[in-house]
Symmetry: C2
Subunit: 221 residues, 2 copies
DNA sequence: ATAAAAATATGAGATATCTCACATTTTGGA
DNA sequence: TCCAAAATGTGAGATATCTCATATTTTTAT
């Protein structure tokens, strides 16, 4: 994690910083850069900032009693991280791991819990965000159960890929998509036979066009 | 729909009315009773109240272009109705239909949109509610894909049943559970063979104990 | 460097679920 | 009241997905 200060803000012309994302605390927001796999949040450490993703994407993973992890969800640009902790409804902490270089705005969680808790404009905005996610996720669940693995896998590989290379572990993918490892490998080998993906060092190169056709309108959220 | 006035509140000793559910508007809340199948919200009519279910349960259905409906979700005691309209994130209106006699507290949506929009205490509370639903639904989706139909159907029949009788249409159930009509009927006939359900006039009598064992810890939310 | 654990890989048989075909019963509207 | 549409019900074959068994490769910890 690197804090990006005013002077180093040459970076920031890569994207426009949103305004007013943190209501009354917007002026206190600081920009941080995380490289791929450098945890934004760790399940065993307190969440001391409320985050907002300016650029990049990340996965949320749950840690089981036996130490194994499973992917719960993905986060993209324009999404908050730690908002359920701010709302005090998240009991079980998660890991949040960037899939590629990711830039986040952050404000102190402590400040948020005092200042933003009384900021109706921010609270309404956050409510809209959380409500929008609820709708998205309901939609996703409904549509998801009507597609077979090849479609869902295509959508998944497209979303989690970075620069045309898919690098997720098959064991985790199988669990996230709710299918057996065996069947995932079977489908993956079909993708290979059909030229949709090709194994390269450290992952699979994906044929985005072919996969988009398969992924139909599945929106992983 | 019947408004329950102060004098007719003999009813209200059936349950305790919650306080402070509508923040600054709590004093304006009025109690209404809906009988089974008497719509609380209709997709073709504006939503003029923000509701809170005190007792009973209801289903949310979506109306397709061709006029067909599909069940989106269920609502239980302690849940709001119309909160996504209050938040202005729900584009597509739904029907909300009680499954049994249902009592709701309601306040004017117009008043809510002006008064509650500036009430940080209410907004934070609503945020917790919506955030909690988001967590629930994510959990449900994750667990759901690991159970086969017999388990999900058991959970579904238990939840939508009223006084031990299940009355949902098989066509709608099949769609909600995301399985083919044929397979639903197949599983249902197994339930009958095993004595878990028995056909009666207008529905099926369910063996709650047997179904609870099958439903495991599936929480339809 | 080595052993243990995890991830990758493949085969074969079982089953949950789907598609299609068709008959009967119930419901809703003219 | 009657007809058309929807809902219910059953059979048979196809397939998506699962379970189990087992081997190889890669990663991790000592």
């Amino acid at each position: 994690m690197n804090k990006i200060t005013a002077k180093s803000q040459g970076n920031s012309n890569k994207f426009k910083l949103p305004e007013n994302i943190f209501g009354a605390l917007s002026a206190e927001a600081e920009l941080y850069a995380f490289s791929a796999n450098d945890p934004i949040i760790r399940f065993d450490q307190p969440i001391d900032k409320l985050w907002y993703i300016v650029k990049g994407k990340a996965k949320i993973t749950m840690v089981h009693e036996d130490g194994k992890q499973s992917i719960v969800h993905f986060l993209h640009e324009g999404e908050y991280i730690g908002e359920l902790t701010f709302l005090e409804v998240e009991k079980q902490h998660k890991n949040v791991i960037p899939l590629c270089e990711t830039f986040c705005l952050g404000v102190s969680m402590e400040r948020a819990k005092t200042v933003l808790r009384d900021d109706p404009e921010f609270l309404f905005h956050l409510n809209q965000y959380v409500g929008g996610k609820l709708i998205q996720r309901t939609w996703f669940a409904v549509k998801n159960q009507n597609y077979e693995l090849k479609n869902r896998l295509a959508a998944y590989m497209l979303m989690s890929q970075s620069e045309g290379i898919y690098t997720q572990k098959h064991t985790e993918t199988a669990e996230y998509l709710g299918v057996s490892y065996r069947h995932l490998l079977h489908t993956l080998s079909q993708f290979r036979d059909q030229g949709y993906v090709a194994k390269v060092r450290g992952g699979y190169r994906v044929d985005q066009h072919a996969l988009e056709a398969l992924a139909k309108d599945i929106q992983l959220v």
